[in-house]
Symmetry: C2
Subunit: 360 residues, 2 copies
């Protein structure tokens, strides 16, 4: 039996790890390409006996449909695009993106979709989306890093390419699909937590505030301050790319002042690590002299401790968001007429060892 099959394989030039195409497979089976194709794709108009014969043969001859031919015929690409804007000021290939992508990748893998990454210089972004649509490289797109009033949303709606935004865009009034963390609510809650611990001078080390998430976080922070009769001090607010060095420098400067902040709110655990370094270097003690509260994306390589969290944090798994976003997009592609879907995730306030009552 084995040698029977392998003879046929030889005859049909199907060596191990090599592949036949539909035509060869159908000749081998003495069936038409139509029938074989239908059997393989689960269409009803084929006898079940035939179908299992076909399935068996496809297995034996190691048949793999050519994805480009399939795509040409069906008009679908079976791929999702992730466009990563690249600019000088600003680098989207960050740890957050990695984890989000990992989450999304899982969902794609399950659904048999591929994932295309494209790095695109800022100013060519619009063109890149048109390209993807026109050249048919992808069936849908995940939009990363939305800014305030992001023009990509209007563009993608116009050209009719399904998309899901990771985040939202303030000032955009079109309906669109998104998944986001309640950034404003989280930062309001976190700031309030510090205020209730007695802190009055609370610094905010935010991400770049043209980014929508950072804008919302600042709003939350400000709201909490105002709600408790505290004033907003621009000298205590920074907005930059969220690196370790940024956290270090900003904290070092603020801690060298006559009147120091007693607490820091950070937009990223990496920035918080930089702040911690500055605190140590200034000879101060974390939680006793200065508190840190940070947003925590639950990155796999930067877990916030294990049993007891290192930092008091607003936690929301970006990996989970990735999976959800991907599934939203896939279902949008499956039902193109469906209304936009939205999903708001809540961050969890987790008490760690980086906060304490304000030093008097």
């Amino acid at each position: 039996m084995r040698s029977f099959v392998s003879n046929l394989k030889r005859k049909f030039k199907a060596l191990w790890a090599d592949t036949v195409n539909l035509k060869q497979l159908s000749e081998y089976l003495n069936l038409s390409q139509t029938t074989v194709s239908r059997a393989l794709n689960g269409y009803p108009e084929v006898n079940e006996t035939t179908r299992s014969r076909v399935l068996k043969a496809a297995q034996d001859l190691n048949y793999r449909p050519n994805i480009r031919a399939k795509g040409l015929a069906t008009g679908r690409a079976l791929a999702i695009g992730h466009v990563i804007p690249v600019s000088n000021q600003h680098e989207m290939v960050n740890p957050v993106f990695g984890d989000f992508t990992a989450g999304a990748g899982e969902a794609y893998a399950r659904a048999g979709y591929d994932m295309m990454l494209t790095l695109v210089p800022d100013q060519e972004e619009v063109r890149a989306y048109q390209d993807m649509r026109a050249r048919g490289t992808v069936d849908g797109i995940i939009v990363h890093g939305p800014v305030i009033n992001d023009e990509r949303i209007a563009l993608l709606s116009r050209i009719g390419l399904p998309f899901v935004v990771h985040g939202r865009s303030t000032d955009v009034n079109l309906p669109y699909s998104w998944i986001d963390v309640n950034n404003r609510g989280a930062f309001e809650r976190g700031t309030q937590f510090l205020i209730e611990l007695g802190h009055q001078r609370i610094a905010l080390l935010n991400g770049l505030e043209h980014m929508d998430f950072a804008f919302r976080r600042r709003k939350g922070y400000e709201t909490a301050l105002l709600n408790h009769g505290l004033s907003i001090d621009p000298g205590l607010m920074r907005s930059e790319e969220m690196t370790e060095v940024y956290g270090y420098r900003a904290a070092k400067e603020m801690l060298s002042r006559e009147i120091k902040p007693t607490a820091f709110v950070c937009s990223s655990i990496i920035t918080a690590i930089g702040v911690r370094r500055a605190i140590h270097e200034a000879g101060l003690v974390l939680a006793r002299d200065v508190s840190i509260l940070t947003h925590d994306d639950a990155l796999s390589y930067l877990e916030n401790g294990d049993d007891v969290p290192i930092f008091t944090a607003l936690r929301s798994s970006v990996r989970y968001a990735g999976t959800e976003a991907a599934e939203m997009l896939l279902s949008l592609i499956a039902m193109p007429k469906h209304a936009p879907k939205t999903r708001l995730l809540e961050a969890e306030l987790i008490i760690g060892r980086s906060t304490g009552p304000a030093a008097s």
Copy 2:
């Protein structure tokens, strides 16, 4: 003139942000598809006047060749695959991968290639590569995270899919293309540096040692110890996924011993951050009481300080490696008969503020 063009656009159903195909373009030009295709792709047998007419029209009508049709006709995919192995023990979507990818993406973008990411469960990896080959999704592959005696290398050679390994694989004797850091040399040099500072009990917090890079690093570390008459103490060696918590825990345990190590060699800056945390928590002072030396992949989000490096480090930009790997692969694809290319990068020893003479 403008309205002339826009009339024709309307006539040919080319609305803004919409696209014509080759047939429409050739009808618009009163030329055959052959000629238009040749004009566009720079073939010589077309009059220069005609060519510029074609180019102009392609621009005006917003012509974008369908990549799947092109791929079907040429047999090329214009895409490169990055396969990310996923398992329970082990997570490749790490910050290093992100930066490598960013570097590679630049090269692809320049060459007009797309980048495909695929997450593949460990045990299906072999099948995944066969698939990519058979279905024609990619023209080549970057192999990430090679282990000792990595079977993927033989597989990819056999099925004839061009590939470049990021790293090497000990015990594989086939010729293949790779780009790697001199891990062994770097860790030997780094360890020697610590020894010369008087350290005798030097711990190694390595990555998972079935990974080739980690294996080589250990060899380098051991070589330096032996060269200086120091013994190898398994109690001072760890091998795990390189997270922050790993560094913290391992260092905490070792620093709680009767006889503590006086220096740590880490395989990742993230792990080093964890070690630093444990040092602080133990009430010790970095560089004075305990030294840290780490490998530094020069990740954009985890820069090792600015003017003065935080950690004494063996630095080698993984982003640069990504760009180089991509370019090697693209040239391999362009010249399939070419012999394998290899490239060994040297890590730079950078003196930071995390090392000092051994405390007596």
